[in-house]
């Protein structure tokens, strides 16, 4: 089973912090990979938040293909960040040719474009780059979005963090998602590594999605650009989030109602019961059966954790004012946020959606059964 570690902070933090939390949960992952997404970037990225960041890995040939493609499409490089790779003796990570974190200026023709048009361009570009490098594995592209950097590599998370030089030269951010993989797919594919990203929404998941095929087919049939890939059965959680929020326009709490709808008699407690019944029918194919613990990030930076309706996977949320962790295990949380009041820790149960907004001042627990919100102030 994978281990998950996410931190929301009022200050910019190093991604090594959630990675070190992962290290404490090492019994749970086999070191077969690390996935990192950093959002709300600091340091050299702080003044460049409006420029989309392309996060990719390429071969030498793939690098030229990518460069040519981006030039051809009118993207101009605004800034580059390169990890200061550190290969130490005994390290098992196989270094690849190029790790790209490039910030681009939009093509000139997009100067007056709406945010929707820009979003569509970025997604299309990401998908086309992916397609260009898929056959010969020359390009692997993870995200292309403003203020977001993704890093993924096969290996022990701590080693991967040090390999990228994040201990000395980190990409700082206020929200960091880190996943330590427990490989269940045998052939290790970087596209199968969480977190998964689409147009500002991202998730990472613990568990196994038994309803994967019908969900994948349903998402694939919605006619939404970007609902492709699915090298992992967990990728659908990111796309369901995107579909719920962006395509359907539902408030975030309804993500819970989409993936784990209430029973008919339970709905009656909610003021929106009539809608819930309709949603349950219409979104039947997106119902999950678990076991899954999902940690996700909404477009506005709200980070949440929720569970499937019956099997559940380990997950805890807790912290102090300005710093909250979303972890698979308490030991990870204690590593990431020592000295917190543990009586404020929340272990989401089947009806809960636990949310923390940017700034991490409080923990909100939305109860699906009652449709009510309770707030834990972190002082």
């Amino acid at each position: 089973m994978c281990r998950l570690s996410a931190l929301v902070s009022a200050e910019y933090i190093s991604p090594m912090e959630p990675i070190l939390a992962l290290e404490t949960m090492k019994e749970g992952h086999d070191g077969s990979g690390l996935g990192l997404i950093m959002r709300d970037l600091g340091g050299e990225f702080e003044s460049l938040k409006e420029y989309p960041v392309l996060s990719a890995i390429t071969t030498h040939d793939g690098y030229h293909t990518l460069q040519d493609y981006m030039v051809d499409k009118g993207f101009r490089v605004k800034h580059r960040w390169e990890p200061r790779l550190k290969v130490t003796p005994g390290m098992k990570i196989q270094k690849r040719d190029k790790y790209l974190v490039n910030l681009y200026e939009y093509p000139e023709s997009y100067e007056e474009a709406t945010s929707e048009e820009k979003a569509a361009l970025l997604t299309r570009t990401r998908l086309e780059l992916r397609a260009l490098g898929e056959a010969d594995k020359s390009i692997t592209v993870f995200s292309f979005w403003p203020d977001v950097v993704t890093l993924k590599e096969v290996g022990d998370p701590l080693e991967v963090g040090e390999f990228f030089g994040l201990d000395k030269n980190p990409v700082t951010a206020k929200t960091v998602f880190a996943q330590g993989r427990q490989n269940t797919n045998y052939a290790i594919n970087l596209y199968a590594c969480h977190p998964f990203f689409i147009q500002g929404y991202f998730t990472m998941t613990n568990g196994e999605n038994t309803a994967f095929i019908p969900i994948r087919e349903y998402l694939g049939s919605r006619g939404v650009e970007g609902y492709v890939g699915y090298n992992s059965d967990s990728e659908v959680f990111a796309h369901i989030l995107h579909y719920t929020r962006k395509k359907l326009g539902y408030p975030l709490s309804y993500y819970k109602d989409v993936i784990t709808p209430l029973k008919g008699e339970e709905m009656q407690r909610r003021p929106d019961a009539a809608i819930l019944e309709l949603m349950k029918r219409s979104l039947r194919m997106l119902t999950i059966d678990g076991p899954n613990c999902v940690i996700g990030c909404d477009i506005d930076g709200t980070v949440f954790m929720t569970q499937d309706a019956k099997k559940l996977r380990p997950g805890v949320v807790g912290g102090v004012n300005g710093r909250v962790g979303f972890m698979s295990e308490v030991c990870g949380l204690s590593e990431a946020v020592p000295g917190r009041d543990t009586s404020n820790d929340v272990f989401p149960m089947k009806y809960d959606l636990v949310m923390v907004r940017p700034g991490a001042k409080e923990i909100e627990v939305w109860n699906q059964l009652n449709g009510s919100m309770s707030t834990i102030s972190l002082g």
Partner: protein, 551 residues
Amino acid sequence: MESAERLDVNHQLGLSDLPYVIQWNDAACTRCGRCTSVCPVQAIEPGVYERRVVESTGATPLPTTVRRVGSCIKQVVDINRRCIGCATCRQVCPNDAIVPVFNPRNKFAWHMNQGGEPYKRGGRRNDTDASVLDQLKFTRISMLTDPALDAGRHEFRVRTYLGRNLPPEKLPIKVEDGLLLPDGMPFIPPVREIFPIRIGGMSVGALSPHMWEGLAMGIAYLNEVENIPVIMCTGEGGMPPRLLKSPFLKYFILQIASGYFGWDEIVHAIPEMQCDPAGIEIKYGQGAKPGDGGLLMASKVLKHIAKIRGVPEFVDLASPPTHQTKYSIEEAVAKMVTAMSMAWDFRVPVYPKISGTRTALAVLNNLARNPFAAALGIDGEDGGTGAAYNVSLDKMGHPIASNLRECYLNLVKIGAQNELPLFAAGGVGKHGNLAANAAALIMLGASGVDCGKYIMQAAAGCLGDEHNRCNICNTGKCPKGITTQDPRIFRRLDPDKVAQRVVDVFVAADKELKKIFAPMGRSTELPIGMSDGLSVSDAAVAKRLEINYAC
């Protein structure tokens, strides 16, 4: 000594030509006459024999030849009175002195068209091979990373929807203060939440009053006591007026077919209905006899049937192959679905049922564009019937598995797999595996399945099988009293016992479905289209159905 000419019987059939041969035990038989009185086809009759016996009697016995006359049970060598293998004789025999035995080398197929009339029968396709449905196995078993569920103690929701589910993009919803609220009053298609196994259309008329009553009682009990919302289709021919105006109507799908039998009575009863029916099924085709309309032989049209159907007594009731008021199925779908919906003010799901066919996709695409069509029923070649030409039963039609699968995958392509539910029928439970066949079809993409023959066999002991046993549903002489209108026969069938068995069947199927879904980790929703759960050891089938090959 008879002349050689008189032994010339070349033009006659012999017992060895018949499909079933009676084995009668002279020593055990008491000559009570029960067997001959119950035989539905008079294939056996009391007879006398003359036997040459050698006897030795007296004080100084000398073997003497004598001729004695005795009584016996004789099998009739007449193809029109051939033994059908029903074994009712054996059932009533106090001494097990008689039994019909299947004759695999029979020549029945070559002689069943006497008088130029092709062979007609009831039942279903006489094919004893394992069906594709029975070859499918559930191989995605949850292990380690996803522990299996406990079928006995876990909470399962084994329900499906009959009715059109609006695509989420079209739901009339607005956001206010973080809540989703209704936006206006647009048309929301009616949807019924039901158990995914239904009883398919079998008409009043085809079935005896006791059989129909038993089914109806079982359905009502399942819904009201067992909380298993099983629904049943009436078949073509209306339904008893008392039931039409009862609160139990909601458990029935009213079928309208090309003969419109019973619909005058149904339409006139609408103002007095206490509730809406579960749905309206427009029958365009039947898997057992594609291209043929329904057929109720004159011998079954007794007074009570004539009244329900609104026809004279003792006339053949042959429905046309298609709905005569329409040029095409497209038009029929558009007009009939709308018209039937209007009759109940758009509160009742209305959907067509077709025979399995290579052209099913054309029908499906039409339905996908029709906002009032509530589902599509597809009836495969292994479906049953009360009366059809043997050639239709055995050779016409399309297997359900691939037909259903290609329809589902087409719906996936156009994003309507949840919008338009597919109901699959035709051979569900053919070899006794009701829940397994149903689960396999669901994982191939069906929202639910229909069964008919299985219910007749399980609930009332229907004798028919794929060795052409019995299969005389069309004649009105059903030995079990299931498909007859003759009160002397149907009084043998106890409706209470039928109802009890209907309940047994569905309670057991509910448990078996859970035993299938639990190890696969599924319990919250029906695993519709969960094709990764299925495997088959035939590579060609695996390729066609787009499922896993396992051996």
